[in-house]
Structure formats: structure tokens, C-alpha cells
Symmetry: C2
Subunit: 477 residues, 2 copies
């Protein structure tokens, strides 16, 4: 079997799509793929394929691929694995460029017949000059191209690309990064990586200009050398964040039954990522935090320094911010003479008591707000990185709390929009079954997110992110 | 100045309270303290004290402490620091047992006049035989006794005690642990710890039977020897979780301006906590996670083992659960022959593919659910600790998603309620401005929480918590 480098631009942005195994049952993927093409506004031709149904979701359906009148560039396959070989032959006959196999139950079952079928699938596809994505995957989410795999997934477009061997994890990352303001150029759940691998995808994404940062959840690679080469080239072009699944013995065993991946040892992976210039993370939260940083912080003109200025929240939060930053290897210097002089003028009762981080709770009535000090830090070259704690739990205890919170957040957002320095805002999520609280906190978070600002749920995660952000640019210097 | 061990039971559960500096302005603490006593249903006498107002929040107000007709056991002081000495003398005269000084701007300002005033406050209080809580603190939250410092704080009572040098942090911990099902015997923001210190409080709480676990946020201690003795004795009686603020140079500097605390080095603290048998944490999230574990997991009859069984979520989540547990030093063994035999009977198409963790996404239509495997793990002595991933992001993509999620969670809750083994449920928070999603996720979480079950937001935090839970009981063995 020879392998050609697939033409991914054509494969991932097809002009015509057939959904084989399309279904009118709303509790099936064969329904969701068709509905997504409609709901997300896919502009090309869509052909549902179903043995008997004449129409699915208002679209004319066809009994087989060969019965489709026009060209079919891309096939989404939701049929069971026992019909898969016939379908591939038919697709090859029809001149299909690529098939995404949602269809699973191949090598990941651990059974020889599954592995054998998978080998035959690949053989036939190569023979027919058809590229494969999957098997055992949800496929493509590209809202800008009108494609997704679940009708309720976010519509936000942007500069992030995410590839993942796990469909559930792709869904989770999309949902939980959308609320942080992350829009996608594409996300792809690619499953067992039988044909098109993470290496092809990384090579491709490294060259797509609109992609500013790449995230990947990888359980195992088919060809270590190809992967390293592709990763190195992608990471030279833009930040690449790798969430490796199967770092441990039990994790690797689990990965085999998930995507038949050979996970490889944690040490080898750590070394390889460093060598390639990629960033390794250990959880979805870490992955999303770094996508937020690389997508939403302005790309620095020069290597950013490590001096943090922090404002907002009470005294406990100020202490926690200082501890978290310092433990991440960042520096939290005292306020500069320049800022102290400004404070002396504006808050003569308080100026010598205010430090960095700024304890918001001592400022009341003193003539200066946390936001005002944030502005001073923004203008002062002694501070490279900023943290703005919204401190919503305190605000929400006061009268007119919702308005008060929004007022505070608007002031922060106005400052944030002007900033060329990274500012990590700390707020939410609402974390509450109380409706009023939920509305207030999510409303405030949405205001920051809509302003294009980076919001983190805790000061510790903000500090962790700033550290990795700085380390990345240091490693490029 | 001699110091007596204060009679904390009397001080912390007073029968009569005067709020000096009570106010009708809803944007003031002098309002909130009075309103809390009304709203939380304090059963004793409440006396608002205000120079001019005849009535505050419907209660008769008095122009001074000495004008109050009945006994006053406890005073909450919200007046500015310039009236504080006179008030203490008056309280002593009146036979008051203790004063909580919300009043701040003492030594934490870093100014000599503040430190001098603080010393004089202590001198007068000792002279008058009045105990002090604070200054610079929010004071007591004890919903079972009808006391709190903010009208919107949770009403849930339970076996947790929390003491904190930070008022904001106390509020944050109360709010974010309430949604996890944590109820409080008491929480106390004790500020600068001028008189009653963390050591007195730990001694006291160690002996309160209803308190099952103690949490503390401490920036510095006044008397290291006393603290260690008290901590050791409390930790011998029940789990004590210490969140130390000011672990770093910058954090310590910030702590001085917050509570005038001398923070002490991180190394000394780490050693002291270990020696005393307490558990050190580095964030509010870690603190709350351990309060959840020690309050909601059944107290183990014997030292729990480290073998984890995990179910739920897709294949990616299964891999992540295995990695997270293993990296925390827990073990994720394969399914036992006993469970495999049961699976072979119930899911003949799947049984040999199912592993531990259980990938929920392969089970559909196979005759066995994740919950069923959870039950098998519960009954199998090979598993000591369990993780149940709800996987709401997947469920919410299906039709009737809200009902489906609730159905799944109810099944989990029924199993959880019977369990003597710790089960960490992984779900939420909703993390979304979408109302339908918020209702579904928070409804599901509330169902688990109301069943008394331990819910964690990520599988990594569940694994971290199980590890520290086990390590604690191992250290007691």
C-alpha cells in the first residue's frame, strides 16, 4: 500500500457532500450530519443516502451513492461496519475524494476481525484513490464552511484549529472554549487515524494562514518520524498545544480500546514535544486555557517579560494572586515610584497602603479604583503581564449587584480593549443553580468575552497560563 | 497583658447581640449584620446601636451600648476605628463577653498609628475582660445559630467548620462549596487575629462533635508554638485542611498589608503541617474539593486502598480518567474475572471490549449501562474508589436531553446513596450563558448534591481529591 499526501484543503473544505446512512431519526448521527449541513449553512450540494427513504430533513434522498446525480467530493459514512467495503468501492467508482468514517467497531474493539476489516478498508480506499478520515470519529466542525457534526455546537469562527482522536473530547473542548470566546477555523475528530493522520493534519494546519494556534488531543501516532517532522514544522509556524492521552500504563491500555492507539511512553513524548517546540498539557482545562491565551492575547512584538501587575478582589485574593504567580516562576514586583506618585495625588489617605496585587477592598471611597491602577500598570513598562480579578462574589453581595458587576466589567473591558499587554481577567463561571446569580455572572463574562478578552475561572489558572504563554515566547526568542 | 483561653462556645454562640454602627443603608455592613440576624432567624435578643436612629430594619435602636436595657453577650462593631477605644470601654462596663471588630484600618495599613491603636485596643479589651475577634474581619457565619455577615449567604448547615483571615475568601468558599453540598457548623472570618487566634479556634473546633472536618485559610500565626499544639490536637480528632496564604515573598508582602500577618517560609509551613497531621492545599478549589471529600464520603471503616474503578463519558474521558488517577499515584486495574463474567452474560457482543475505565460510548444497545458496571464495581472488593463521569456534554447533544440527563443522574444517585465506598461524580458546573443548558446541568448537579453525593467539575480534580483522601487515612493507619 502506497500512501500519498492527501490534498487536505480539498478534503476538509469539500464542495459537495453525501451522507451515507442519513436518517430521519433525530437520535442518530445520520440525522445530525444532515441537519448540521442545513443549520450551519453549507453552501455546496448535500445528498442524503438511504436505501428506502425518498426524503430526509426536506432534502431529496438517494438509495445509493451511485444514484446521486452530481459529483460527490466528500462522503460522511454512518452505516454499520458490515456494509463498509461495498460503500468504499462505490465511492471510488463515483470519484469521491474522501470519506469520513463515523462508522466504528474496527481495530479498537481489540478483535482480530475488526483489525482485519480495518486493513481491508485501507487497502480498498488506497486502491480507489479515496482518502479516509477515521474510522471511529465524529469528523469535521468548520462553522465557516457550514459543516459540523452536532447541531448544537457553537457557530463562532476564529483562528483556532483543534484535532482530536476523541469525538466526545472534541465536543467538550468546543463547548467549553466557546464560552471563553474561542472561535474555530476547524475542529476535527479523526478517530483511529487509519489513513489521514495527525501528521498530515499538522502539516496542513501549519500552512493555513488563518490558523493562529493549533490544539491536539492525541492518543498515539502511526508513524513517529512523520509526526515529529510535521509537529516541528507546524510549531515553527505557530503555537501548537498537545494534550497527550495515554501517558500512563492504564491510560495507554484504555487508549487501545478507544482508538487502537499505541500510546508510547510519557518520557519519550515529553522529550519529543520539547524538541519539536510544542507545548504539552495534561487536561482539557489546560488545553483550553492555552488556546485562550494564544488566540486572544495580542501576539507580542518582543519576548514578554515576567513581571505581573494584579488588581481586584479582596485581600485574600491579592495574597493568592501573588503566591500563584510566584510559584509559577513569575515575578510580582512592588508598585513603581511612578505609580506611587500618582496614587499619592489621587488617594492621599491610602496611597502608601496600596500594593501589588491591589486589594480592591481597601480602596472604597479612597479616590482611586482597581481599574484606575490597572490603567497605570498598563502604561508602566515595569509590568509585562496583568491580572484583573473581577471578584464577583463580593460585588454580588451588594445592592443592585447585577448592574454594579456589569459596570465594573465594562470599565475593565474598556481598558482591556486598549491593551497590548496580556491581561488575564478572572471571573466565573456562575457555578450556581440560582438564576439571578447565573444571569449576572454569565452576563458579565459574556461582556468580557464579546470584547475579545481572555477570561479565566481562577487566579491560579490565570497565573499558570501566563507562565506558559511567556515560556513559549521565550523559547522562540 | 495576660491572655486567658477564651470561652469560645459562649463567644461564638452568643444569646444576645448588639450591632454597634448598625445602619439602615443597605450598602453597608452595619445594615447587613442586623439583616442577617433577622433573616437567618437568630433566636436571642438583637440590639442595633446607632447614635440618632430610633429604629433600624424594624428593630428598636439604642443610642449607645450602655443604653441597651438587657444583657449583651456579643458585640459586632462596624464603627470607624477612631471611636473604637471608647466603645471597648463601654462594652467592658456593660459586661460584654466578646466583640467582633469588623472595624479595620489598624496594623494592616502598615502605619505606626494603626499598629499603636491596635495595641491599645488589645490592652483595653484585656483590661475589661472582653475577648476580641478581628479586627478587620467579617466575623461569624453560623446558619444553625441564626448568624451571618451577608444576607445572601447559604443557609445550609452541616459538619464543616472554616476559619479564615480573609472575609472575601470566606464568602467565596461558602458560595462555591454550598453548590457542592457543603453545610457549615460555622465559618469565621477572623482577620488580624489580635486576641482570639487560629490556635484558639482550632483547639475549640477539634472538640466540637458536630464538626467533622476543619478548613482554614491562614496568612500568618501570632504564636507558632501555640498554633502547632492546637493544630496537632485538632488534626488528631478530625481532618484539618490548611490553605496557607503568603507562601511566597510577594504573597507574604501582600499578607502584611492585608492582615498584618507575618507569613513565614513555605518550607517551615510544609514541615509543620505534615508534623501536625494536617493537609496543606494551594488554592480555594483544592480546599473545597477536600471539604467535599471529608464531609460527603463515608468515613472509612478501614484504611481505603488505591484501586479506582471509573465509568461514564466517552473514550477520551476514559483515557483521561486512567491517566489522571495513575499520575496521582492511584491504580486503575483491569476489570476482574467476576465482572467480566457478568458482562459476558449481559452484553455478549461487547463484553471483551469493555475495560476500566468504562467507555460509555461503546455501550449503546449492548445490554449493559455504565451505571450497571458501576454497581458491579461497588460490589467487587477489588475496587476501593469509584469515579462516575456523567458526561453531560455528550448527553445534551441528544433529543430530550434535559430528561435524559436527569434520568442518568437519578440512576447514578440511587447507586451512590447505597455506597460505602467513596464515589466521585464528575459533572458541571453549567459553564454557559445558554439557559436551557444551565437549567439541565444545574438541575442534574442539584439532584446529586441533594442526595448527599460528592460532585467534582473535572476528572482530574476528582482524582486529585481521591488521592489526598486516601493519603490522609493512610497517614492515620
Amino acid at each position: 500500500m502506497t500512501q500519498n499526501t492527501p490534498d487536505l484543503d480539498a478534503l476538509l473544505r469539500p464542495k459537495s457532500i453525501a451522507v451515507v446512512g442519513a436518517s430521519a431519526n433525530p437520535d442518530s448521527p445520520g440525522h445530525d450530519y444532515v441537519k448540521c449541513l442545513i443549520d450551519f449553512g453549507f453552501k455546496g450540494d448535500v445528498y442524503p443516502v438511504h436505501r428506502r427513504e425518498p426524503e430526509i430533513l426536506g432534502l431529496k434522498a438517494y438509495p445509493s451513492l451511485s444514484a446521486v446525480p452530481g459529483d460527490v467530493e466528500f462522503v460522511i459514512s454512518c452505516i454499520p461496519s458490515d456494509g463498509i467495503l461495498e460503500m468504499i468501492d462505490e465511492a471510488a467508482e463515483k470519484g469521491v475524494g474522501a470519506i469520513q468514517l463515523f462508522t466504528g467497531r474496527f481495530s479498537e474493539t481489540g478483535r482480530e476481525e475488526g483489525a482485519e476489516l480495518e486493513r481491508e478498508v485501507l487497502r480498498r480506499a488506497r486502491e480507489g484513490n479515496v482518502s479516509l478520515i477515521g474510522p471511529n470519529c465524529m469528523g469535521l466542525h468548520d462553522p465557516g464552511w457550514g459543516m459540523s457534526f452536532r447541531p448544537d455546537l457553537p457557530r463562532r469562527t476564529g483562528g483556532v484549529a483543534f484535532i482530536s482522536q476523541s469525538g466526545n473530547n472534541t465536543t467538550e473542548v468546543l463547548i467549553h472554549s466557546d464560552v471563553r470566546g474561542i472561535g474555530y477555523r476547524m475542529a476535527l475528530s479523526y478517530g483511529n487515524a487509519l489513513d489521514v493522520t495527525e501528521a498530515h493534519l499538522l502539516e496542513y494546519l501549519g500552512g493555513v494562514n488563518e490558523v493562529g494556534v493549533i490544539g491536539a488531543y492525541i492518543e498515539g501516532v502511526r508513524d513517529g518520524r512523520h509526526f515529529l517532522k510535521a509537529l516541528t514544522s507546524a510549531a515553527a509556524a505557530k503555537p501548537v498545544v498537545i494534550f497527550k492521552g495515554g501517558r500512563t500504563g492504564a491510560g495507554a491500555r484504555s487508549a487501545v480500546s478507544h482508538t487502537a492507539a499505541l500510546a508510547g511512553s510519557s518520557e519519550v513524548w515529553g522529550g519529543a514535544l520539547r524538541q519539536a517546540g510544542a507545548i504539552g498539557v495534561r487536561s482539557q482545562d489546560e488545553l483550553i486555557d492555552l488556546l485562550v491565551a494564544f488566540e486572544l492575547f495580542a501576539k507580542p512584538a518582543a519576548t514578554p517579560g515576567r513581571n505581573v501587575g494584579a488588581v481586584g478582589g479582596g485581600g485574600g485574593r491579592a495574597v493568592q494572586a501573588a503566591d500563584a504567580c510566584t510559584e509559577e516562576g513569575l515575578s510580582v514586583p512592588p508598585l513603581t515610584d511612578g505609580i506611587r506618585a500618582q496614587l499619592k495625588e489621587r488617594a492621599p489617605q491610602l496611597w502608601d497602603w496600596i500594593g501589588n496585587p491591589v486589594d480592591q477592598s481597601i480602596l472604597a471611597g479612597g479616590g482611586v479604583s482597581g481599574a484606575a491602577v490597572l490603567e497605570m500598570m498598563l502604561a508602566d513598562p515595569a509590568f509585562d503581564l496583568l491580572i484583573a480579578n473581577v471578584g464577583e462574589d463580593w460585588v454580588l453581595g451588594r445592592p443592585d449587584s447585577g448592574e454594579r458587576l456589569l459596570h465594573l466589567v465594562k470599565r475593565f473591558a474598556d481598558i482591556g480593549k486598549q491593551s497590548k499587554k496580556p491581561i488575564a481577567f478572572v471571573l466565573g463561571p456562575a457555578d450556581s443553580p440560582d438564576e439571578e446569580r447565573w444571569r449576572a455572572v454569565e452576563g458579565a463574562r459574556t461582556h468580557l468575552v464579546d470584547a475579545g478578552l481572555a477570561v479565566f475561572p481562577t487566579v491560579e489558572r490565570a497565573a499558570w497560563t501566563l507562565r506558559h504563554y511567556v515560556e513559549h515566547w521565550e523559547s522562540r526568542a
